[in-house]
């Protein structure tokens, strides 16, 4: 199967600042992929590169095997819901569908109408008069009715209240099943992605810290607590992601393919949220970064 997204040494520079640097990723198709990181980490830059709204300053990126925005064929295969799920405030809901039908060769009007009906959105209503949740659902409707193979969403639920957030994710997951969509969505909150994503990319400070299948990530990360110890003395196959020490005790989060047998450690599981926070909070040395990737 062709990868959803492949990046090799991808970078984007604004003036002297690298918004994204040295990004190498292989994101599988047929998955729901979460892109998580603090604000300003480079999530939007990466997604804009993927849809071809930005051109790379370094390296290369391929999406579904093609160059981003390389002609009408490629544009039709990738849907994009930009940050804050933008709509045209002065246009009605029906206008949005007409616009969608004009601009997208693969437009599926039946799907769009059926979704509006289920959502109870009045076609005559102006988008500017909709609630935040309804606007987000309208933007999602456009993204789905375009019938892309890959749908990319930038922080789609960040501005929504918990109920609207839940409803949005319900509709997104349903569409993923119904239309065999690959999905990439970003968020600065792990809790939004915990249930919905089966593949995770953690982006911090313009760099990819860790990327992988969620089940694999959970199975290979362990929390070790025990008598104080220098992490440098750990076996070579255990990479320290984060560490904290008191005068007597050490608590580490390590990544290890094998089981931890050292009886000095109490070994515990690491939840997804803690795992992501461990990668976000710690600034690993250059060598750890290389090893983790």
């Amino acid at each position: 199967m062709t990868a959803a997204l492949e990046a090799r040494g991808l970078g984007k520079k604004y003036g002297k600042r690298w918004a994204l640097s040295d990004c190498t990723l292989d994101l599988p198709a047929g998955r729901v992929i979460g892109l998580v990181g603090p604000n300003g980490a480079g999530k939007t830059t990466l997604l804009n590169l993927a849809v071809g709204q930005l051109a790379p300053s370094a390296g290369s990126i391929r999406v579904l095997g093609g160059r981003p925005a390389d002609g009408p064929g490629q544009l039709a295969r990738v849907g994009f819901v930009a940050q804050d799920t933008p709509t045209y405030a002065g246009l009605s809901v029906a206008d949005h569908l007409r616009l969608g039908a004009r601009l997208n060769p693969g437009w599926d009007d039946a799907i769009a109408r059926e979704r509006l009906e289920r959502l109870g959105l009045d076609p005559a209503r102006r988008a500017g008069k909709l609630s935040g949740g309804q606007r987000a659902q309208l933007a999602l409707t456009l993204g789905i009715a375009k019938r892309p193979e890959l749908l990319i969403l930038d922080e789609p639920v960040a501005a929504l209240d918990p109920l609207a957030r839940r409803e949005f994710l319900q509709h997104l997951m349903e569409a993923a099943v119904e239309h065999s969509l690959s999905v990439v969505l970003s968020s600065h909150l792990v809790s939004d992605l915990e249930r919905t994503c089966d593949y995770l990319v953690v982006l911090v400070d313009s760099r990819v810290r860790v990327a992988g299948d969620v089940d694999d990530l959970l199975a290979t990360h362990h929390r070790l607590t025990g008598p104080r110890r220098d992490p440098a003395t750990l076996p070579g196959d255990q990479q320290v992601v984060s560490e904290s020490h008191t005068d007597r005790q050490s608590t580490l989060i390590v990544r290890s393919e094998g089981a931890i047998h050292d009886p000095a450690w109490t070994v515990g599981q690491v939840g997804l949220e803690d795992l992501v926070l461990a990668y976000m909070s710690d600034t690993p040395t250059r060598s750890t970064l290389e090893a983790v990737r």
Partner: protein
Amino acid sequence: MIEFHLDSGSGVSPYMQIVRQVKHALRLDLLHEGDQLPTVKDVVAQLAINPNTVLKAYRELEREGLVEPRPGVGTFVTRTLAGDSLAAHGPLRKDLERWLVKARMAGMDDESIEALFMTTFRSARQEDIA
């Protein structure tokens, strides 16, 4: 038809929660042979969870011989877990109740009763394995 719910604070992975809820329903005779499980689309639309989580749960149940996918239709129960043991539930419950009365009379509180039951249960299971 049954409906799933997820407890995010339980520490049990969502796919395992679905597996357990199906088995629970099979044990309690809420699901019978030939019953259909909710479709993947219905489950994700209800719980807002990843479709592969549901598929993984259903594959696990299939591997255990409890359900069977029918392509294009859905997933169906092939075997129930209630079976012959269901009839024995009543008398066994009576035995347990009598035992609980004895434990109370010996001055045990809820936590001690639970601890004693769990340690006995675990050691008996280990002897079974050994």
